[in-house]
Symmetry: C2
């Protein structure tokens, strides 16, 4: 049976579970391809629900809501990894095309599944153990030294569900709550890298240049493309690693491979199987954005060029700061956007339309150019101005150039 298309246009209907900023930006990409993204949102005020024409309200843990979403859609895909595997299997049994499929997606949902798969494949990763007892944590620490990193197998993102512990007892409550934990060596990091790759059902793979991701409090807030000073050999090896993983887990769509760079090479940290924060720079910075590529991949269209559009691209996230706090009496959001445009006429804004709260990821900005220090200063200053309503010292530098 051919997959359904939109009877009004003859083109596919991609349905995305989740109404956050990733769905919002995927809708922008869908518009260019003649499509209109169908979105399953839990609230009409969600980021994508504010801008998409075809919004279904429902919970991603409700199989009936998922089935209604899939009705008449060409393919079902995701803005997050929180859909229960059994629901995805039920959709597949219904004959729905789900991309990535449940067998692939579980590698991004369950960190233990990923660790086992990487071990079986012989891919580089931190030393790890699956533990059901506090003694299990101590056993790994005996081998790799304290502190160790304790992770809940499921449910973590943006640093949640990740704990650095100096003694097994610190994880006692977590172990009681989850029964099984993943415990990992704390790696001596040079920095964090990410490789974004897209894979189609046909098996075509496209990979963007390796980027450096800079975190603040466990949240990725800056992406430098390409990763500064990364030697060509390591970059190529990281890209090949990402492609091997994509093939091995059989992902369909965009996948981000988060890597630790160490003195001895790169180690696999985590996977995300959807457009990812580390790929927002591709909207202006690459010939094909991660959002368009995700649509191409899940639709089994040929993939687009991943060539960079400028020598240096920097993305900086806007996390809710002083200007989102209660009692803020500085310039309001619209005024800050106005100032942003006045000061940085070539910084590109992406605002997610979410309510402003301190620490919340509210938007991002992208700057392009030739010189990393200048481009980065410009992007970071612009993002911080939106967050805090204050001009950062870096601003003076950015203005000079």
């Amino acid at each position: 049976m051919p997959a359904p298309t939109d009877p009004r246009t003859g083109l596919p209907v991609v349905a995305m579970v989740g109404g956050g900023q990733l769905a919002r930006m995927t809708h922008q990409a869908a518009i260019a391809l003649g499509q209109s993204l169908r979105v399953l949102a839990t609230d009409p005020g969600e980021s994508a629900a504010l801008v998409a024409a075809d919004v279904r309200l429902g919970d991603h843990r409700d199989l009936d809501a998922l089935r209604a979403l899939a009705e008449g859609a060409t393919v079902v895909t995701f803005d997050h990894e929180h859909v229960p595997t059994e629901h995805l299997q039920a959709l597949v049994a219904d004959g729905v095309r789900v991309a990535p499929g449940p067998d692939a997606l579980v590698h991004a949902q369950d960190k233990l599944v990923l660790r086992r798969a990487m071990a079986a494949a012989g891919e580089p990763q931190p030393q790890w153990a699956e533990v059901q007892t506090l003694q299990g944590i101590t056993d790994l620490a005996d081998a790799v030294g304290w502190p160790v990193v304790v992770k809940t197998p499921r449910g973590g993102y943006d640093g949640r569900g990740v704990f650095v512990v100096d003694a097994a007892e610190e994880a006692a409550d977590l172990l009681t709550a989850h029964g099984t934990l993943l415990v990992e060596q704390r790696v001596a990091l040079v920095r964090e890298l990410a490789v974004l790759v897209a894979r189609s059902p046909f098996g075509q793979v496209a990979v963007w240049p390796v980027v450096e991701t800079v975190q603040r409090d466990g949240i990725n807030t800056e992406v430098l493309a390409p990763a500064p000073g990364l030697d060509e050999e390591t970059a190529l090896a990281a890209q090949e690693l990402a492609v091997r993983i994509a093939d091995r887990v059989g992902v369909v769509g965009v996948m981000a491979v988060e890597l630790f760079q160490t003195a001895d090479g790169v180690l696999v940290n985590e996977l995300a199987m959807r457009p990812h924060n580390s790929g927002h720079w591709t909207i202006e910075g690459a010939r094909t954005s991660q959002f368009e590529q995700h649509l191409r991949a899940v639709l089994d269209y040929p993939l687009g060029s991943t060539e960079m559009a400028a020598p240096v691209v920097v993305m900086a996230n806007v996390l809710g700061g002083a200007a989102s706090a209660a009692g803020w009496d500085g310039p309001g959001l619209d005024e800050r956007v106005h100032h942003l445009m006045a000061h940085w006429p070539d910084v590109k804004l992406h605002w997610y339309g979410k309510g402003q709260r301190p620490g919340r990821k509210l938007g991002h900005v992208t700057a392009l150019g030739e010189d990393l220090a200048e481009v980065r200063a410009r992007a970071v200053a612009a993002a911080r101005y939106l967050a805090d309503g204050e001009v950062d010292p870096a601003f003076a530098f950015a203005q000079e150039h």
Copy 2:
């Protein structure tokens, strides 16, 4: 009274009259700015109505529909120039911000108003006359030679309402129908150029590089940016002319100045006061797209950089061709999109979601690069393949590079 904003986001609400592809692409740009374009469409199947979250159905000639559209909007703007001037004046009298305002917009609605304004300003334009009689046509032809160009003052676009006549009698029916006509010298063209400019209420002006526009049957189907081989002096003069006109007519928003290039310099042909076909190349080809810039301008935000993103950018429209005709049994639209992506992985597609009919403007593609001949061949071949389902001879050339 401050202009209304969206209570959910604190950001502006731009309302656009008209639900065509210009509104569709403006919505994409609005999403990045944290906004959601409100659209007045006459039919739910219109290009923008398929993708926007806030669609009002109504006629642009119905003042009540316009008033309902304006309710709670920060500013009202346009995807076409067909709104009656008296309705716009009524909105302004209501206290609605309308951009461009009716006094500016009339220069794009009425070709006689434009000719008078350009004459008063001493700007270069073809010789012309306002006529109520056939003798008037002959009088102008006596001065400039046959044939002459007869135009209906209002309602023409994409070559409609424009007639080349060899004798006054050929315009007899037209004169009876309209009462007053514009007659113009038929200019000895070198080619057609266009200058896109944006102006904010504050008076800030931004201008993109001059482009060459290539027409087929009176419809612009290719845009070459920058205009090939245009000497710097003429380019600068054309940009300055566009900026002077923008200031003189007091436009707010994006305005396209269509120019005839002759052996003696450039002449003003027509104005469009909205994003324009000659500016579609800016989506990927310039740091700020015409759609984002239009939103910035009508909101009195500072304008963005108009710098080009590549040395050469070519936009080619897809007009419904063989593949839109009745009885077509070649590859369907989705299959053609698939092939397009396979053959031209770095050509960017913009499909408008409209029903396919021969001659209808269904979408456009954009190619970027270094070499005009290669980039143009690539864009044109891709557009023709979408239109006709056949690979153009130019394809072979594009593939070689």
